[in-house]
């Protein structure tokens, strides 16, 4: 470990961020004991060989994302991110709480709008959101769930406190990397798994499928679930195929679907087959040319009406974007208090609402110290980090903010926590975030233990998006009580177990031949 981690503590001190692996004085935290032990045994040559083989596995398996029309493997770093059981417990509850609040908020916003009447958030905020779709106003989706799948982005600030950075309740992606990363790590760095119990992630597709089936329109006995993809050119196409494959359902494109009489069918070799639940992986705008963009060839005309009539469940529901609008985000703590009568378990990042005059003036004075984000962006698009921006960029930003204050929010620059990451011939601290995934089946919100840890591969960079040079790490949640017996119970041997006999007694052919030979 000595040479691989040579300059690590200096680099970590430079960034001033919370390091997930090392506490003060370059001592590995308890949760990282096994990992650091395993890494200590390895030489640079071993580590690079392992990393190469993991990258090759990803290419072989087609674990890629589409970047500017090119398939690239999603870089997986060899050092996992480890979350101890007690910290995970808080995160898990916090994420579930948030999902429940957003679910309630969406139901309300597309219904009575009590939240507005009660003065928790301004009506204008909802109605000016680009993703507030009036087309889905006034009906409860069949199955009663809107946020089937969500990814709540969480970061850890310099003090080590988890904070929610943003909510994704439209089409959160990345879960396929969680599944693939675990597979690759189990084979790439088996020593690090050691004898600790790491909570498995493999049940995700089954959880998702059962949640989707559970929220099918009423009266359907054996619901047919499909995954709706925009097609092979989508950047997350790999994920669509993986999930459809692991759930054992059809992966359909818009042209495979037909809407008739407010029911949805898919074209199969055996004629048209009814579809009950659509796991939608395309943006609302492209879903239904009757309601949204009329030039969209990706969707299927009539889906929204079918959903309204209760003929099909669309997951996640149409119009969810209003809940992950970044300006609404700044109200989520209030929403949690309003709907659930609880205090938020995970805090937000401090956010300036630029519509408010004072805040705006304050922000415009300190643009070079803040992060400014468009409210409806995703994937780090349009985001400006003040300290890294040039003067021209800041001036341009200033003009745009003044022109459209509703379209932007500002946050202080967070020093995201760091995890050692292989770069060149040694490990250096790199900033990470975390996207836990939650599946809501209407009764219960299940949070996938772990989630996607994205890492900015450039030193000092705070942008972790894969489209901007980010990679990922396998995320391990340690189990609370290792599920191992305190003493090794003598194992029941295979031969002495109770035998149930159902086969006929062996007939006499067995020895006939030998007898004859004798």
């Amino acid at each position: 470990m000595s040479d691989l981690f040579q300059d690590y503590s200096e680099a970590a001190a430079r960034s001033g961020a919370y390091d997930e692996m090392f506490a003060q004085g370059h001592v590995a935290r308890r949760s990282y004991g096994q990992v650091s032990g395993a890494l200590r045994e390895l030489s640079l040559a071993d580590v690079t060989a392992r990393a190469d083989s993991m990258a090759r596995t990803f290419l072989d398996r087609g674990v890629t994302f589409d970047y500017a029309g090119e398939e690239r493997p999603f870089p997986l770093d060899i050092v996992p991110r480890v979350i101890p059981a007690d910290e995970w417990d808080v995160l898990e509850r916090g994420v579930a709480q948030r999902v429940k609040a957003l679910e309630a908020f969406l139901n309300d916003v597309y219904g009575r709008m009590a939240v507005v009447t009660d003065g928790v958030i301004p009506r204008q905020l909802v109605t000016t959101s680009a993703h507030f779709h009036r087309a889905v106003h006034g009906f409860e989706p069949s199955g009663g769930v809107r946020v089937h799948v969500s990814g709540i982005d969480v970061v850890r600030d310099a003090a080590g406190t988890f904070r929610v950075l943003e909510d994704n309740v439209r089409v959160p992606s990345g879960v396929s990397y969680v599944l693939e990363n675990r597979r690759a790590m189990a084979k790439g760095l088996p020593e690090a798994f050691g004898q600790q119990h790491i909570r498995p992630v493999e049940e995700y597709p089954r959880r998702l499928l059962s949640a989707l089936r559970k929220t099918a329109p009423s009266g359907v006995d054996d619901p047919t679930v499909v995954v709706l993809t925009p097609g092979v050119f989508n950047s997350a196409y790999f994920e669509h195929t993986l999930l459809a494959g692991l759930m054992g359902v059809e992966l359909v494109e818009g042209r495979d679907l037909i809407c008739r009489g407010n029911r949805v069918y898919m074209r199969t070799t055996a004629g048209e087959q009814r579809v009950d639940v659509i796991y939608k992986r395309i943006d609302d705008d492209f879903l239904d040319p009757l309601q949204f963009r009329s030039d969209s060839m990706l969707g299927c005309p009539g889906l929204v009406n079918a959903a309204r009539a209760g003929g099909v469940t669309i997951a996640n529901a149409v119009g969810n974007g209003v809940a992950d609008d970044k300006l609404v985000y700044s109200y989520v703590p209030d929403l949690i208090r309003y709907y659930l009568h609880e205090e938020p378990i995970i805090a937000n990042v401090d956010t300036f609402r630029l519509e408010e005059k004072e805040a705006r003036e304050h922000v415009l004075d300190r643009l070079d110290e803040l992060v400014v984000k468009p409210v409806d962006g995703s994937g780090g698009k349009g985001l400006v980090i003040g300290p890294d921006a040039t003067k021209d960029e800041l001036d341009a930003l200033r003009k745009r903010v003044i022109a459209d204050p509703r379209g932007w929010i500002a946050q202080p620059v967070l020093q995201l926590s760091t995890v050692p990451t292989l770069s060149g011939d040694k490990f250096g601290p790199r900033h990470v975030d975390l996207r836990p995934f939650a599946v809501n089946d209407g009764d219960d919100v299940w949070v996938l233990p772990g989630g996607l840890t994205r890492v900015a591969l450039k030193e000092g960079s705070l942008i972790v998006n894969s489209s901007q040079g980010g990679g990922s790490k396998d995320t391990w949640v340690l189990a609370n009580s290792p599920q191992l017996p305190a003493e090794v119970i003598p194992r029941q041997s295979v031969t002495v177990r109770e035998q149930v006999s159902v086969w006929p007694v062996e007939s006499n052919w067995r020895d006939r031949q030998t007898e004859q030979q004798q």
Binding site: R50, S53, A186, K187, G188, L189, P190, E191, F193, G194, Q195, H197, I198, E202, R206, L209, S210, R213, D222, G245, L246, M247, G248, L484, V488, R491, S493, V494, R497, E498, Q499, V500, S501, V502, W503, P504, S507, W509, R510, R512, Q513
Partner: protein, 308 residues
């Protein structure tokens, strides 16, 4: 054709399939095994070896020894390297009968056996490599050898061994009941996607076992493999008897298959060990019967390694 050649072909089929099955089992179990405490690791390693039909050679038997015994030991017919070596040896003795490309691919495989690191990580890659090579051998056998008697013997060996290997995969469930989920059981057989597509939301031990045991369309299920073997035997001995069978192998394979196929049960899981035991027994007996009938059991064994 010559009995000796037929025998070599039969064993090429068996050994290649054995290497394939063993690497599947090893690949999946290694992952679990690696996470166990040392003491448990030892006992599980022993039991796993027992399921694969071998005995530990030394008192000290842990993970490294298991890797050696199942993957790299060239002198053991139950290891991957041993099986592939034996398959190549058999092909060498039947070189004039097997196609050039089949021989070459077996030979290349044999010489590639040493080019792998023998630690846990290297073994994962080794297993993958073996899966690829065996798939290639099977593909070449199917596409470059006429589907005549010689090919039938190869397929016969392959089908019997496949039934046996799937039975062992299912038996390993017992060994690691703590950590071995049905998902892994299916992964072992490469059946996960097929299973999930046919069963939709019906998950669980029972369904997975049923799939690997009884599915009529999945090529690695026991019933499917036994039916394949049965068909080969029927083609090899077309003398249609109106009553009964002269051929013991057909009787054995047929009885095992029909028993499984038409057996009705409420509790498959508790019967599973017996099914597995009987399937393995049937395969051994069928193999013996085939030897007696076709290979003219000579005193000298033409193949390397064990008899079963």
């Amino acid at each position: 054709m010559l009995s000796r050649i037929a025998e070599s072909l039969f064993w090429i089929g068996r050994y290649v399939e054995r290497a394939d099955g063993t690497s599947r089992i090893l690949d999946v179990h290694l992952e679990r095994l690696n996470h166990l405490p040392l003491e448990e690791q030892r006992s599980v390693a022993r039991e796993l070896l027992a399921v694969m039909g071998a005995k530990p050679q030394s008192e000290e038997f842990g993970l490294p020894e298991l890797l050696h015994a199942l993957a790299y030991d060239k002198h053991s017919a139950s290891s991957i390297a041993g099986s592939l070596g034996a398959a190549r040896e058999n092909a060498r003795r039947a070189r004039e009968t097997v196609s050039q490309s089949l021989w070459e691919s077996l030979n290349t495989t044999y010489y590639g056996l040493n080019q792998h690191r023998k630690d846990v990580v290297g073994t994962y890659r080794f297993c993958n490599w073996v899966l690829e090579r065996t798939a290639m051998v099977r593909g070449l056998a199917d596409t470059t050898v006429s589907h005549d008697e010689s090919w039938l013997f190869m397929v016969l060996g392959r089908s019997l061994e496949r039934a046996d290997m799937t039975a062992r995969m299912l038996s390993t469930r017992d060994v690691q009941s703590a950590g071995m989920s049905w998902v892994n059981m299916l992964r072992c057989a490469g059946a996960y996607e097929s299973f999930i597509r046919t069963r939709r939301a019906a998950f669980g031990d029972q369904h997975a076992a049923e799939f690997l045991l009884l599915d009529r369309l999945f090529p690695r299920s026991i019933v499917y493999a036994l039916r394949d073997a049965d068909e080969c035997l029927a083609k090899l001995d077309p003398s249609a008897q109106r009553v009964g069978f002269i051929n013991d192998a057909r009787r054995i394979v047929g009885q095992a298959r029909t028993f499984l196929e038409f057996h009705r049960t409420d509790d498959l899981m508790s019967e599973l060990p017996e099914h597995m035991e009987r399937v393995q027994k049937a395969v051994t007996q069928a193999s013996d019967a085939i030897s007696r009938k076709y290979f003219n059991q000579a005193d000298e064994h033409a193949w390397v390694g064990e008899v079963s």
